[in-house]
Structure formats: structure tokens, C-alpha cells
């Protein structure tokens, strides 16, 4: 039987954004093919969250030699470990380059489900503080949308995927459609109250908002608190496309999911000024196939979608498809993160935790919310957690013998509390993705060359993260307060955004307010590439909301015969 190659819609990528595009387009009646560069994942076989340390050869310390051989870059991600490495790409097959003085980390997962399998699950709505930031301080271009445009779509996606969190009524961090909040620990509750008091209510430590179920939801089971979500979840208790959006799309009968399909190029038809379809290289056989459709959604991830457009050259678009503005590949951002502080919490030794909460605490942005900070623009949120030190403290502690052993078993040690900042990066036109002139991936596609640098504003903000967190720990009554800085290069946060930014006019950006390419109206980019600024919130929920919104717009436009 000849393979069907003509569809109503093509979606490139099956991760967080691609899954949502697939669900919305199929539910709205379009015969849709999802092209995923990686292979299939079978949760029953491939998820490894319940593998215990004693079942691992290196007891969780990792197969260093194998990781260095196959994942020399990916291994720097905490989730690319002894059992989780299978959800990360082989670095030799998937190269990228960066200037020697501007290191960049590109952590990638090519499989059905993409990085939604390994993501951090933290979800925070943007507010108008974020959407208005570029317009107010002049860095980057003004967003063509505001919170009111996306708010109903946040609600729409949150209701489907299930979000745990607590309402706080903060203007800079709008509440969402929350399932019951996970509990804070006893020391987090105490610190929250003391910090609220010490800073006049301006610094709010709340429980993390996460795409994890705390009660049954849409046929999925609640979290059983085993801990390492990034290795998968057989009960589908955290959101990933494999367990939520892709099955919903499948149910419509209009989904074709094609793994091992590396999209090399978006095909442009100059006669109609539209995208005709895509050219696909089979990841295993290298055979090439063209797929055609009325509408194309790029959801391949920020860097991959930009790379794909840069590699889609034609007489009309010699510098990359949909690039009449010349902004394609520019204004790339990531969150600079990791600077903060930790301390010991005296007391509470009669209390402990039960269960491994796959979530932490969040301190909502408090800089440049009501007053301008003298040292930097924009702001940061802080993420962290608390716990008792357990037997691990014995590693660095004098002691031996029966009493030492018994103390490590009986006494859980002191409580500690820590948090680090996740900071907004100013959009800069020279933070840029281009195609490497010589390096190609295993499929012959030019590798991305990524040049992104932290600048003064980011560095000033990093310093403040450490100092501000130390102040908060002091206020919370912690002892032994220690600050830590961060040397994380761009990309390390895995919140890469921009490169095909949304804009008010065709001359300033790549997509319009509906994530629709200005130059190619049946082409949509709904992953992180569309972001014109990057807030300080973990971005995935915003991609989901924008994707659902764009899909609805596309289908409506098709029904009106505008597409």
C-alpha cells in the first residue's frame, strides 16, 4: 500500500507544542500528520522511574565512560543520568556549534513525546508585566498580544493537562486553574510566614505550580510520589504529550503519527506564496519523502524550528523561509539561572517528610514589580526546596562504628532550605542562531551555529539573586547561610526562546499575533521560537496556550477560506 502523503495539516515535532497542535487540529477536524525525528516510546517498556539504585550497575552514579562517549554534552543535564540518558540525543549524530568564547548547551530529546518526557513540569502564567516589558524599557520589540489575549487559553490548556498550585492573587504571577496544592514542608511554611512579614508581603514563597496531578484528572491517576518524573511516569500523572495530548488526537481518528521522520526543509511554492509541505528524511533508511498539506505547524523546539527555516531556502527567501524581516535566528534567549543561597533551619527535628515530592517552592518575582531596581531591568523568580540531610551527611562527617551507623539510620539530620533564581534575559539581536557552514548532522542537514552571550544586565541580576536569597534565609531564621553563584552557560536552563519572534508588523519579526508567519500565511511557529521576550517564568505552559490559540485561529481561517 502506498503511504499517504497529503494531509490537511503537518505538525513538525511531537513534544509539548507539537502534541497540543496535534490535539487541537485533529479535534477541529483536520487530518493531521505529526512528524517526529526520533523513535517511538513505549511507556510500559521505556519509562524507568521505578528502577531502584541497587538495580543500576553504578547505583545511580552513572556510566561515566558511556555518557562521555555518546552524550558528552547532554550528560551535563541532571536528567541525562544512568537510566534517563535514553531520552537524550546522541551528540555525535546531532552536532551543533558555538563560538569558542561563547559556550552554549543544547540539551535535546528526539523521541515521540520529545522533551515533554523529561521536562521540569513547572508552569507559571505570564502577566502584563511580562508582555509589556519590551515596550516599556525599549529592549526588543513590543509584543502584539497582552495577558487578556492569552488568559482564556491558559485556562483551556490548564484544565486539560491538570496543574497543581496555590492561589496567591499576585498581579505579576496570575493564578490558574489549580488542582489541590502539594503541601509545603513544615520549614517552608515557617519560612513563608517569616519572609512575608520581613518584606512587607512583597516576597511571596508559594508551593511550586506544576503539571502534576494531585487528584484523578481526565482519566489519569494522581501522583504516587515516587520522585524522578524526568524518567517517565507509567501512571501518566505528570503531563507529557505521550500520555495526554497525543492520545486525545489519536481518539479523533484523524491523526497519523510518523516517528523517525527528520524534517529537512519546508517546501515553498512561489506561485501561491504558501508552504507546500515538507521534505522528510527517514532517520533509519535515509529515504526521502515529501509530505504536503494545507497548513504547516512548526513545533520542533526553538532552535530546531529556526534551523529548519534557515535551511529552507528559495529564490524568494534566500536567507531562510519567512525571513523577509531579516530577524529569523535573532533575539535568542534562555533564562540565566542558578545563583542563590542555602541555609540550615534550626529546630523542627521532630518532623520529617513522607514521599518524594516532585516539586519545590517558588518565590514570585519581586524585583522591578513596584519599584525600579538600580542595578538591572526586569526580574527573576526563585525555585528551591527543603529537606533533612539524611544519611548523605555522613559522607563528610567524622565518625565510624556502631553508634555512627545507628545515628545515620535514626537521625535524619538538620533541615536545610535553599532557592536559586531564574532570570529574564534581555532580547539582543546578536544573540543569534545561524547555520554552520561546514558541520552537518547524521542526515546531512547543516548544524545550528548558536551564539548567545550573557550581558551586563544578566550578570547584575545574578548577583542580586544570591544576595536577596541570603536576606530571605536570614529573615527565615536560618543559620549557616551560604550564597552560591552560577556559571551556567546559555542553553543550560533548557528554556531557549526567540529566533522567530512575534511582532506587530512584518518588518520587525517572523510571526504575527496568531503565530502565523508574516511571509507565508499557512505556516505557523508555536514553540519557543515565537517568543519576543522571555519573562522569568518556566515557559512551556505559554507555548501550550499559544499553540492551542494558533490552531483554533488556523482552523477558523481555513473554514473562512482565508487559508
Amino acid at each position: 500500500m502506498r503511504e499517504q502523503t497529503d494531509f490537511d495539516a503537518i505538525v513538525v515535532g511531537s513534544g509539548i507544542s507539537g502534541g497540543w497542535a496535534a490535539k487541537e487540529l485533529t479535534e477541529r477536524g483536520l487530518k493531521t500528520i505529526v512528524l517526529e525525528a526520533g523513535g517511538p516510546v513505549d511507556p510500559a517498556k521505556d519509562f524507568v522511574e521505578h528502577v531502584q539504585p541497587w538495580e543500576m550497575h553504578f547505583r545511580g552514579m552513572g556510566d561515566r565512560a558511556a555518557l562521555e562517549r555518546d552524550h558528552p554534552i547532554q550528560r551535563e543535564c541532571y536528567a541525562c543520568d544512568e537510566v534517563g540518558h535514553k531520552f537524550f540525543v546522541n551528540d555525535h549524530d546531532n552536532p551543533y556549534t558555538a563560538p569558542s568564547d561563547a559556550p552554549f548547551r543544547f540539551f535535546r530529546g528526539r523521541q515521540v513525546g520529545g522533551r515533554s518526557i523529561t521536562w521540569g513540569r513547572q508552569v507559571y502564567r505570564w502577566s502584563d508585566l511580562d508582555f509589556e516589558a519590551n515596550a516599556k524599557d525599549g529592549h526588543g520589540n513590543d509584543w502584539p498580544i497582552r495577558y487578556k489575549d492569552i488568559a482564556p487559553w491558559y485556562s483551556y490548556v490548564e484544565k486539560f493537562i491538570g496543574i497543581t498550585g496555590a492561589n496567591e492573587g499576585l498581579s505579576q504571577l496570575p493564578d490558574g486553574e489549580f488542582l489541590p496544592a502539594m503541601p509545603m514542608t513544615v520549614v517552608e511554611q515557617d519560612a513563608r510566614a517569616k519572609i512575608l512579614k520581613a518584606f512587607g508581603g512583597e516576597r511571596v514563597m508559594t508551593i511550586g505550580r506544576a503539571a502534576i496531578l494531585t487528584q484523578p484528572h481526565n482519566g489519569r491517576l494522581p501522583c504516587h510520589y515516587c520522585g524522578p518524573c524526568e524518567r517517565g511516569c507509567v501512571t501518566h500523572s505528570y503531563f507529557n504529550s505521550l500520555g495526554s495530548t497525543l492520545p486525545a488526537a489519536q481518539t479523533t481518528g484523524r491523526l497519523t503519527l510518523r516517528p523517525n521522520s527528520v524534517v529537512a526543509e519546508v517546501l515553498y511554492d512561489p506561485k501561491t506564496s504558501r508552504a507546500r509541505g515538507v521534505r522528510v528524511i527517514d532517520a533509519q533508511t535515509m529515504q526521502q519523502t515529501e509530505f504536503t498539506a494545507r497548513v504547516v505547524f512548526l513545533c520542533a523546539s526553538t532552535i530546531e524550528s529556526v534551523r529548519l527555516l534557515l535551511n529552507s531556502k528559495s529564490a524568494r527567501f534566500p536567507d531562510g523561509l519567512a525571513n523577509s524581516s531579516g530577524t529569523l535566528g535573532r533575539y535568542v534567549m534562555d533564562h540565566h539561572y542558578g545563583s542563590g543561597a542555602s541555609g540550615t533551619v534550626p529546630g523542627f527535628t521532630d518532623k520529617r517528610t513522607i514521599g518524594r515530592r516532585p516539586n519545590g517552592i517558588y518565590i514570585a518575582r519581586f524585583r522591578n514589580v513596584k519599584r525600579a531596581h538600580p542595578d538591572f531591568l526586569r526580574g527573576y523568580g526563585m525555585q528551591g526546596g527543603s529537606g533533612r540531610s539524611g544519611w548523605g551527611r555522613g559522607t563528610n562527617m567524622p565518625g565510624y562504628g556502631a553508634a555512627f551507623k545507628q545515628s545515620l539510620i535514626d537521625d535524619l539530620g538538620a533541615w536545610s532550605l535553599n532557592a536559586s533564581g531564574w532570570g529574564e534575559t534581555l532580547p539582543h539581536e546578536d544573540n543569534r542562531i545561524t547555520l554552520d557552514p561546514t558541520v552537518k548532522d547524521k542526515w546531512g542537514i547543516p548544524a545550528a551555529h548558536i551564539e548567545v552571550r550573557w550581558r551586563e544586565n544578566e550578570r547584575a541580576m545574578d548577583k542580586d539573586m544570591s544576595a536577596a536569597m541570603a536576606e530571605m534565609l536570614d529573615a527565615a531564621g536560618c543559620t549557616n547561610v551560604r550564597t552560591h553563584g552560577s556559571n551556567n552557560p546559555p542553553g543550560h536552563c533548557i528554556h531557549e526562546m526567540g529566533g522567530a519572534r512575534m511582532s506587530k508588523t512584518a518588518t520587525e519579526g517572523v510571526v504575527n499575533s496568531w503565530n502565523q508567519a508574516w511571509d507565508v500565511k499557512n505556516l505557523f511557529l508555536t514553540d519557543g521560537s515565537c517568543m519576543a521576550s522571555n519573562g522569568c517564568q518556566n515557559p512551556s505552559i505559554t507555548y501550550m496556550a499559544l499553540t492551542a490559540r494558533a490552531a483554533a485561529h488556523a482552523v477558523d481561517a481555513m473554514k473562512r477560506k482565508e487559508l
Partner: protein, 188 residues
């Protein structure tokens, strides 16, 4: 393995003169291009077992060797460590035993349990510089990791629940306490 890596690993050439003869021999073997064994020799495994059981002896709960901690140490040193780390560690192990012989007149494995304890106590009280101290503290970390992540200790001593089914952030402490507390799995 380059000689300069070894020099760096041992903290410079002056450290050479202070190393016990066994360690010097181990160093010389590597510096001359002869690769050290991938893992621990039988003698080194016995020494690791003796140190591990001094730190975590058998009581009403298992000892370190009861749950095969030396085999775990062998896996990490032999397969996980890079060459420099392995060489350092093995030379440190030899240095440790040489020091035991110098201080007590006998190999560590031949000491009575109380004498082993006295030796460890003195070593722990000393500054954590130079071999064998650096090796000892690395080993202590491996011993604790290997012990508390073993199946028997996880299940029977710490009573770890794989699927606790709930999270309580202010549960009363019970003795013996489950190792479900303290740790958190979170990244954004």
C-alpha cells in the same frame, strides 16, 4: 596517562618525597606507561572491606561487607573513575596501608577491630590533605553510598517506599525513620 597529570593529581612534585614507598611504586608504574589494573586487587578489596566494616560494622543491621560494599567500590573505581582518579585512589589505598604499617607495625587488615577504629579516628582528626586522607574521605563517601543504596539496607533498614502514594511535609518523626524524607526531586 601523562606524567604531568599525575603530578597535578598528587599536588605537585614535592608530594613525591612524602609518599610511602608503596605509593611511589604505584605511581612509578603508571608514570612509566604501565596501566594500573582496571579495578582493585584481592588485597585492595580486603583492605576496602576492612575499612568499610570499621565505618559500618555489623550490629542488628548488616555490615558494609554484608551488603557487598567492596564490590560496589570496585565498580566505581574500576569502571567509573577516569584514569587519574583511579590511579590516585589506588595509590592512596596503598599509602593508607603503608601508614598503618608505619604507625602500628602491621597491615590494617590484620589489626584488631579496636585498633582499626583508633587508626581511623586519628586519620579523621587530621587535616584532610595528602594521601592517604584524601583517599579515605573519597572511600567513606562510596562506602555510605554503596551501603544505603543496597537493596537489603534500603528495604529492611531504611524501609524505603518506592511508591509512597502521598506527600506529607510535616510528618512526625518515627524511629527508625524511613529514608523517604530529606530528598526531593525537582528541577524546572
Amino acid at each position: 596517562m601523562q606524567r604531568r597529570d599525575l603530578l597535578r593529581a598528587f599536588g605537585g612534585a614535592t608530594a613525591f618525597a612524602l609518599l610511602p614507598l608503596d605509593a611511589v611504586a604505584a605511581w612509578s608504574r603508571v608514570a612509566s606507561g604501565v596501566r594500573v589494573a582496571e579495578g582493585l586487587s584481592d588485597g585492595q578489596l580486603a583492605l576496602v572491606g576492612a575499612i568499610a566494616d570499621t565505618i559500618l560494622p555489623r550490629t542488628d543491621t548488616p555490615s558494609a561487607t554484608d551488603v557487598s560494599v567492596p564490590a560496589f567500590v570496585n565498580v566505581i573505581v574500576g569502571e567509573n573513575y577516569v584514569d587519574t582518579q583511579r590511579t590516585q585512589f589506588l595509590a592512596g589505598l596503598d599509602a593508607f596501608d603503608a601508614k598503618a604499617k608505619t604507625d602500628t607495625g602491621t597491615s590494617f587488615v590484620d589489626l584488631a577491630p579496636s585498633a582499626r577504629g583508633t587508626f581511623i579516628e586519628a586519620l579523621e582528626a587530621a587535616p584532610r590533605t595528602g594521601e592517604p586522607s584524601r583517599m579515605y574521605w573519597r572511600l567513606k563517601g562510596l562506602v555510605l553510598h554503596g551501603y544505603f543504596t543496597s537493596e537489603r539496607v534500603s528495604k529492611d533498614v531504611l524501609h524505603t517506599e518506592i511508591m509512597p502514594g502521598r506527600f506529607d511535609g510535616s510528618a512526625p518523626l518515627r524511629v527508625p525513620a524511613a529514608k523517604s524524607g530529606g530528598e526531593e526531586h525537582h528541577h524546572a
